[in-house]
């Protein structure tokens, strides 16, 4: 059982706060992703787990071993933590052959020579790089180097894998391919993995759970499904999903027909059953969010007959292969919708319907989600 527990972790660089008061529990065998824009503190958190940076406050436990504790003055160096790491630029040793690169962690630990050879060969076989063992890194392609870095991380059979954007330097096609292989490998080996990325697609496809970070602060922790369907604030809602969620400022007002979101250009009537929390926002400004796939073209010709329909101008159609992106406008409000097909062409007026069960509402002041 190797879980990772982080308590009240804080790290600052000069005046910038890299990580602020982070509390986190990563479960055994979990594929856990730190996701966020660059400079959000995700790599710092990873380096703190690895022992590569000294933190200002907090505790880190790997399994039941306390590896970092500022209060107790504990900072175990990386070599005393049973972790191994894959770096963005692979960081394989340029003067060593592939064999020596993979064998390095074992050689350092003075493992028996025959065992080293056996384990390196086994690892190379698993990664499909057996034929490259005698080459030098400069003779390898980016994808092959990446495998060598993975091999070096795996050969020691660590308790935890730490990966710092390992796919960022690969070209798009190879990245998608390696993504799948990496996920399979992790399932096969069953090693607790912490993975850092700024690519939300990578995070969504690979992770068991994701932590979204921004400016050193945790915005949300949850499964990909939770983050996508129940973002807890405006930032997560906007960060996860491509194309992005549509947002518009609305006032929540009570009319005869029921609760209504008034966006000035149009009104959307909410279903009669709403939570008491939402009721407390009546008369206040809220932000409504709706994902592009939850807006579709109406079969009706008249917007007024339905409470969730809006008349908009179709500015542009972008074909993306499996679907079309419709860029829509109504006054100052622009929306993007993804549809399979459309009868309309650019410049026309269309009636769009919104799936009211899929709308997200956020408090304009705190940007937190309203349930």
């Amino acid at each position: 059982m190797v879980s990772i527990t982080i308590k009240n972790l804080t790290k600052t660089y000069g005046n910038t706060i890299a990580v602020k008061d982070l509390n986190l529990q990563i479960k055994d065998k979990e594929f856990f992703v730190f996701l966020g824009p660059s400079g959000c503190g995700k790599t710092t958190t990873l380096f703190a787990i690895a022992g590569l940076v000294e933190v200002d406050a907090g505790e880190i436990w790997i399994g039941d071993e306390l590896v970092t504790s500022v209060e107790q003055g504990i900072h175990k160096p990386p070599r005393e933590r049973e972790i191994s790491m894959v770096f963005q630029d692979y960081a394989i040793y340029p003067h060593m052959t592939v064999f020596d690169n993979i064998a390095f962690p074992l050689q350092i630990r003075k493992t028996d020579k025959h065992e080293i050879e056996e384990r390196v060969k086994k690892t190379a076989e698993l990664l499909g790089i057996s034929q490259l063992l005698n080459r030098k890194p400069r003779q390898l392609s980016g994808g092959q180097r990446q495998r060598v870095a993975l091999g070096r991380a795996m050969v020691r059979r660590p308790k935890v894998f730490l990966m710092d954007e390992p796919l960022a330097n690969l070209d798009a096609k190879l990245r998608v391919q390696t993504r799948t292989e990496l996920k399979k490998l992790q399932l096969e080996l069953g090693v607790t993995t912490v993975y850092v990325t700024h690519d939300q697609v990578e995070a969504m496809t690979m992770a068991d759970r994701i932590m979204v970070q921004r400016d050193g602060i945790t915005e949300q922790i949850g499964t990909p499904d939770e983050l996508y369907n129940h973002p807890s604030n405006l930032f997560v809602a906007g960060f996860i999903g491509s194309p992005e969620m549509n947002f518009m400022d609305c006032a929540l007002v009570e009319e005869k027909k029921g609760l209504c979101l008034d966006a000035k250009e149009f009104k959307i009537f909410l279903p009669s059953k709403v939570s008491s929390e939402l009721r407390s926002f009546i008369g206040k400004q809220v932000i409504m969010g709706i994902r592009p796939e939850n807006i579709y073209e109406s079969k009706s010709v008249e917007a007024n007959t339905m409470e969730n329909a809006v008349k908009m101008t179709l500015d542009l159609i972008e074909p993306v292969g499996p679907f079309l992106l419709l860029h829509l406008r109504a006054g100052r409000i622009s929306l993007v919708a993804t549809v399979k097909d459309t009868r309309a062409s650019a410049g026309q007026e269309v009636i769009m319907e919104m799936d009211l069960s899929k709308i997200h509402l956020f408090d304009k002041k705190t940007t937190k989600a309203i349930v």
């Binding site: 070599r79 963005q88 960081a91």
Partner: protein, 229 residues
């Protein structure tokens, strides 16, 4: 102009006999000081770029100032210190002085080169289980051939060519450097030009050999960093 009437290598032999002791002295202290100053410069460069501690920039600044310190400025205290240490007129003394003086420039060279080694390489070695010294020995040192050649040639040439420290610190035969002996070849009243010139040839030979052997590495070293490796 006409060809020499009686060609001879006599002056070369005479000069060699006069120069061989001092040449050996020079080879010993130049070689030793070159190796020591390069090794220390390499360790300094590694620590200054990859370990980073409070005040490391200040220390580097002090090293850099050392490069601009003229020999003449430290001559008197240097002689006093060396004689108090019992290293006056001593090859070990020359090694110590040249190493100390060389560390400044070798530190600068190695520091700049190690700045090109990605930090992730060091961090990878750390997570692979290596300690500070193992990282230096197994990762940093094997990648340092080029700066060792550049710093080595630079140090060899400047120590070999030094006259001032030699003439001040080692006047006796036991430590007399070749550069000083070369000046001694000309007498006080007259100069035997053939022997003088032959001596110069012997004196120039080691540097020439070093350049011929190291030439190709030297060019690569000067170019290092110009192209992404």
């Amino acid at each position: 102009m006409e060809p020499p009437l009686s060609p001879t290598i006599e002056p070369l032999i005479t000069a060699f006999n006069l120069m061989k002791g001092p040449l050996l002295n020079s080879l010993i202290f130049t070689g030793a000081a070159m190796i020591l100053s390069c090794l220390l410069g390499s360790i300094n460069g590694y620590i200054l770029t990859k370990i980073r501690f409070k005040g490391s920039n200040t220390i580097f600044l002090l090293f850099s100032i050392g490069i601009f310190l003229p020999y003449q400025a430290v001559l008197v205290p240097l002689v006093l210190t060396m004689s108090r240490l019992g290293l006056y007129n001593n090859i070990a003394g020359l090694i110590l002085v040249h190493t100390t003086y060389g560390i400044t420039i070798t530190t600068l060279l190695f520091r700049n080169f190690y700045g090109l080694i990605p930090n992730s390489l060091i961090m990878a070695a750390k997570t692979d289980g290596a300690g500070t010294w193992t990282i230096y020995r197994r990762v940093v040192l094997p990648l340092s051939l080029l700066p060792f050649v550049v710093a080595g040639v630079l140090q060899f040439t400047s120590i070999w060519n030094d006259f001032l420290f030699g003439v001040v610190l080692a006047r006796g035969a036991e430590a007399l450097p070749a550069s000083v002996q070369l000046a001694n070849l000309k007498g006080t009243t007259e100069v035997t030009w053939n022997i003088q010139m032959a001596g110069t040839l012997w004196y120039a030979l080691p540097v020439l050999i070093i350049y011929i052997i190291m030439g190709k590495y030297l060019i690569r070293g000067y170019m290092a960093g110009a192209i992404k490796g």
